[in-house]
Structure formats: structure tokens, C-alpha cells
């Protein structure tokens, strides 16, 4: 029995992903937006709220205004949200709040970036290193992988996770991606391939790290009465939650316990469900360690259990918790804030029964999680088939 809901995702779409020569950041925004609007059966003029994120290739302090001008729309509400990898989920939670408060009827959530072809790989790596503290981390040559590697080393030390356990996350993602015709990575990999890939920041190797991609994604979040006319079944936003504990890893309260536990508990509580009720999970996987920590902190697995379970197929279709069924950031695509929206788009497709070869049979409840910074900002969502 689905809890009473007041906001739902009525449109969800993403562009092609991967290497998209000739694309522009705003062009991908517009393409994703129009696809999501068509999915929701709406015209651009019917949107009264717009939420955008941020861009590395076309940065601007007012990205929502830039996007609305580009698309030629004049909504009565617009804002840009920057919460790193949590942005997609935070935008969905904010859109939910806007329609539940009666401030908007249809909120367009959109993010895109062309950081694969729009900038050099070196420039992308350097820009991402800016997440580090400018005086107390960046001078030591940190990268995002290095900052997550510090978590991985501590987590392996405390809970006995192994490199094989981490690799199982990458293999599970690739197994799913092989079923998605749009995924950026379509070559099968085994545990040994992950372990033998080029070291990036020990213990993380190349295949422990997410992709760099071009692409965009968008959602339409509608109030319940406005969702009635949607051509496809709505994905109800049943519960959401957030927790921020730090920004920089030097200031994290712990290297092994993070805010995902509280953000997920909040989302489950508001939805009135438990982790064991979830049919399909789309959980932020910027690195293999990110996913492992989150699966064990959110309550899907006990500490030390996610790795062995993943090795035994728990994250695959038919497993205990089909997870990142599109292939995730590790094998589907990662283009900035759109990366987190890909997880949301996939959750909607699963709840609608549109996921084709990767469909989780009878999926009624989905869990989506985003994390930004170095496991700093967390946002969790529970979605249900409306």
C-alpha cells in the first residue's frame, strides 16, 4: 500500500551519453529538457519552475537564468543548486518541496555537461581537484580519487573490505551496462581486470573510478493534481532526506561513517518503508568505495557484507538488491550533475517497467542516493510506482 503522495516525477529522460563531439553544454541541457517535457506530455510554456545545477565547460554564477534564456522560457521560479554529486537528488527534493508547497505545478530539473569533448582530460582532472581545500589539501597534490582513496584505505582497515570487494562493485556495474544500449562502456570486465588496471591513487585503480562523459538528463516533477494528465505512470516521491557533515576530508567527523546513514533513515522514515522493502536501488558510485560504503551505511548490507554479497551476484538482476541497473557512473556515464540524474532517470524507468533487458520484475519501490564532495553532502529519495 503506497503512502499518500503529493509530488511525482512525470517526465524523465537523458540524451546520448559518452563522447559527443559537436555537443555544447547548453545544447545538451536543452535536448534533455525537451525530451523530459515530451515524456511528461508538456509544452515548455507549461513549466513554472526550473532547477539547474553547474557546469565545468560553460560555468556561470547564474546557470538557471542562462539555461532559461537559451531555451526561451520565462518561468516564475528558477534557481541553480550546487551540491556536487548530490545535486541531482537535491534538485529532485527541492522540486518536490516546491510543488508540495503549492509554489509550482511542474518543475523542470535539468543538468548536463560536455566535460569529455568540451575540455581536455587533464583540465577536467585539474578542475575536479579544486574540491580539495585550497590551503590545506590541494598543495599536497590531491585529486578526487586520492581523497576517496583515503576513505578506502581507512574503510578496508576498519571493516576488512578487500580490493576484490571493491572490484565487485565495478564488475556489477559493467554487467548491468552491457544490457543498456546507450552505456558508454560495453566491454565485459572481470575482477582480475579491475585489479590489474592502472593504479590511480592506491588502493583505487582506473576501473575503480567513474567515467568522464558528455551528456545531459532532465526530470519533470509535478504536483499530484497536475500529474493526473501525464501520459505515463508517475513515479511518486514518497520520502526524501539530506545530511551534510563536512566538506573537506580533513574536517570529516569520521573516515568510515558518513551522512548517508542519516539521509537514508530520513527518506525511509518519511516514506514509511524499510531498506528490505526496496526492489531496486540506484546509488551514487563515483568510485567503487563510494558504493560499498553507502550500501553498508544505508542499511542494505551489514558492515563487511556488501563486498562478499556483490561477488556472489547480490547487485545483479535477480540478486538481493539489483543496484545501478543502467551501469552507474562507473560504466553508464558521468557528466557532472547529470551523473546523479542518470540514477534518477533509471529509477523512473524501472518503476514504469520501461527498462527492457535490465528490468527488475515487478519493481514498485526504488531508492536513489547521491553524494557530493568527499562523502560530504548526502541526499536520499524513495520513489514508488504511482
Amino acid at each position: 500500500m503506497l503512502k499518500d503522495w503529493r509530488a511525482a516525477i512525470t517526465g524523465a529522460a537523458d540524451t546520448a551519453v559518452g563522447e559527443l563531439p559537436g555537443s555544447s553544454c547548453m545544447g545538451l541541457h536543452a535536448e534533455a529538457a525537451l525530451l523530459a517535457l515530451a515524456d511528461a506530455g508538456l509544452r515548455p510554456g507549461q513549466i513554472d519552475g526550473v532547477l539547474c545545477a553547474y557546469s565545468l565547460t560553460e560555468p556561470h554564477p547564474m546557470l538557471a537564468s542562462v539555461f532559461c534564456e537559451y531555451l526561451g522560457i520565462r518561468p516564475s521560479y528558477s534557481a541553480a543548486i550546487q551540491a556536487g554529486g548530490a545535486t541531482g537528488c537535491v534538485m529532485a527534493m527541492q522540486a518536490q518541496a516546491l510543488v508540495e508547497a503549492g509554489l509550482c505545478r511542474h518543475v523542470l530539473v535539468v543538468a548536463a555537461d560536455n566535460r569529455l569533448t568540451g575540455m581536455t582530460r587533464d583540465r577536467a582532472v585539474a578542475a575536479l581537484a579544486d574540491f580539495g581545500h585550497p590551503q590545506f589539501e590541494r598543495p599536497y597534490g590531491v585529486t578526487i580519487p586520492a581523497l576517496y582513496a583515503l576513505v578506502a584505505q581507512a574503510y578496508m582497515h576498519e571493516y576488512g573490505a578487500t580490493r576484490e570487494h571493491l572490484a565487485a562493485m565495478a564488475v556489477a556495474a559493467r554487467t548491468h551496462a552491457l544490457r543498456h544500449p546507450k552505456a558508454q562502456m560495453r566491454r565485459p570486465i572481470a575482477i582480475a581486470d579491475v585489479l590489474a588496471s592502472r593504479p590511480i591513487a592506491e588502493p583505487l585503480c582506473l576501473l575503480d573510478c567513474c567515467l568522464i562523459s558528455d551528456g545531459g538528463a532532465a526530470l519533470v516533477v509535478s504536483a499530484r493534481d497536475a500529474a493526473r494528465d501525464a501520459p505515463k505512470p508517475p513515479a511518486a516521491l514518497l520520502g526524501s532526506g539530506q545530511k551534510n557533515t563536512h566538506e573537506h576530508i580533513i574536517a570529516a567527523p569520521s573516515l568510515t561513517a558518513f551522512g548517508c546513514r542519516e539521509s537514508a533513515a530520513q527518506a525511509f522514515g518519511r516514506a514509511g518503508v524499510r531498506p528490505a522493502d526496496i526492489d531496486v536501488a540506484e546509488v551514487y558510485d563515483s568510485f567503487t568505495i563510494t558504493l560499498l560504503v553507502e550500501l553498508e551505511s544505508i542499511g542494505f548490507f551489514e558492515k563487511g557484507e556488501a563486498g562478499p554479497a556483490a561477488l556472489a551476484g547480490a547487485l545483479d538482476l535477480g540478486g538481493r538488491l539489483p543496484c545501478n541497473t543502467h551501469g552507474g557512473l562507473l560504466s553508464y556515464a558521468h557528466s557532472g550533475a547529470a551523473g546523479g540524474l542518470f540514477h534518477l532517470v533509471e529509477a523512473v524507468r524501472q518503476l514504469r517497467g520501461e527498462a527492457e533487458a535490465r528490468q527488475v520484475r515487478g519493481a514498485e519501490l526504488a531508492f536513489v542516493h547521491g553524494d557530493g564532495g568527499i562523502l560530504s553532502a548526502h541526499c536520499s529519495l524513495v520513489l514508488g510506482r504511482g
Binding site: 585539474a126 585529486t143 580519487p145 586520492a146
Partner: protein, 140 residues
């Protein structure tokens, strides 16, 4: 020098200048709250625990334990290529706060979580004379 080649040295501000002045003298200094006594890092204009203003600066022992570490093989920019691979650690100082440091010498060879280290300083560099702290194996 292009943006990708410049080493990102700290630019001290009102919150951090006493820390970097200490490093240039060869001393590790930390903030300590005048009200609740909590030692904190990174430096701030107030105590992040009780929010009392203007924490006092105190000389720290410069000793602590490795809380985690990573050997970096892919640097953020060309400026760090010459030192590859290099080891970055999070160190829990004996006073309580956690700090990031580069591991040097024997400390970088086969580090383990829990290893004791002591702080040393690079020669001052750049327009602000920054002497970056690093960590060495704690001697007798």
C-alpha cells in the same frame, strides 16, 4: 607558467596567516578555544564547537598517528609529475585535530594506519614564503 603547471601553494588569509607564519619559523601551531579548550584545524575566526570568537594560537607537539594514506600515481596537474608516485596521509595530531601531510623518507616507504609520525617543514617557497609541513617517521 600555465595554470596546469603552477603548483597550488596556499595564499594565507586572516584566518590562516598565523599557521603559515608558524610553519615558516619551523613550528606547527594550532588554534585552541579560549572558552571550551577544543583544539581545531583548519583555522577559523571562531571555535566550530562552541562558537566562541578568536581562538588562541598554541604551539603543537608536531606528533601524531597516520589515520589513512594513499600513494598517488595520477597527479592533478603537471606540477606534481616530478614527484610521482607520492604519498599523502591524514594524520591525527596528539592534540586532537586531523591534518593532511605528505609522507617523506622512510615514512613513505611502507606506511600503515596507526604509524607514529612527526612533522617537518619544506623550505619556504613562492611569493608568500610558504613552508609546507610534511610527515617523517617519529624518531626516538
Amino acid at each position: 607558467m600555465s595554470e596546469l603547471q603552477a603548483r597550488p601553494l596556499p595564499v594565507p588569509n586572516a584566518d590562516t596567516a598565523p599557521f603559515w607564519d608558524g610553519c615558516a619559523r619551523g613550528e606547527l601551531v594550532l588554534q585552541s578555544c579560549r572558552q571550551c579548550g577544543t583544539a581545531q584545524f583548519p583555522p577559523r575566526s571562531l571555535c566550530a564547537r562552541c562558537h566562541a570568537p578568536a581562538p588562541a594560537w598554541r604551539r603543537a607537539s608536531g606528533r601524531g598517528r597516520i589515520a589513512s594514506f594513499t600513494r598517488v600515481h595520477r597527479p592533478p596537474s603537471a606540477a606534481f609529475k616530478a614527484g610521482l608516485p607520492y604519498v599523502i596521509a591524514l594524520v591525527d595530531l596528539d592534540e586532537g585535530p586531523r591534518i593532511m601531510l605528505a609522507l617523506r623518507g622512510k615514512a613513505a616507504e611502507a606506511p600503515r594506519i596507526g604509524d607514529r609520525v612527526k612533522v617537518g617543514f619544506d623550505p619556504p617557497a613562492g611569493p608568500h614564503g610558504i613552508a609546507l609541513p610534511h610527515a617523517l617517521t617519529e624518531g626516538p
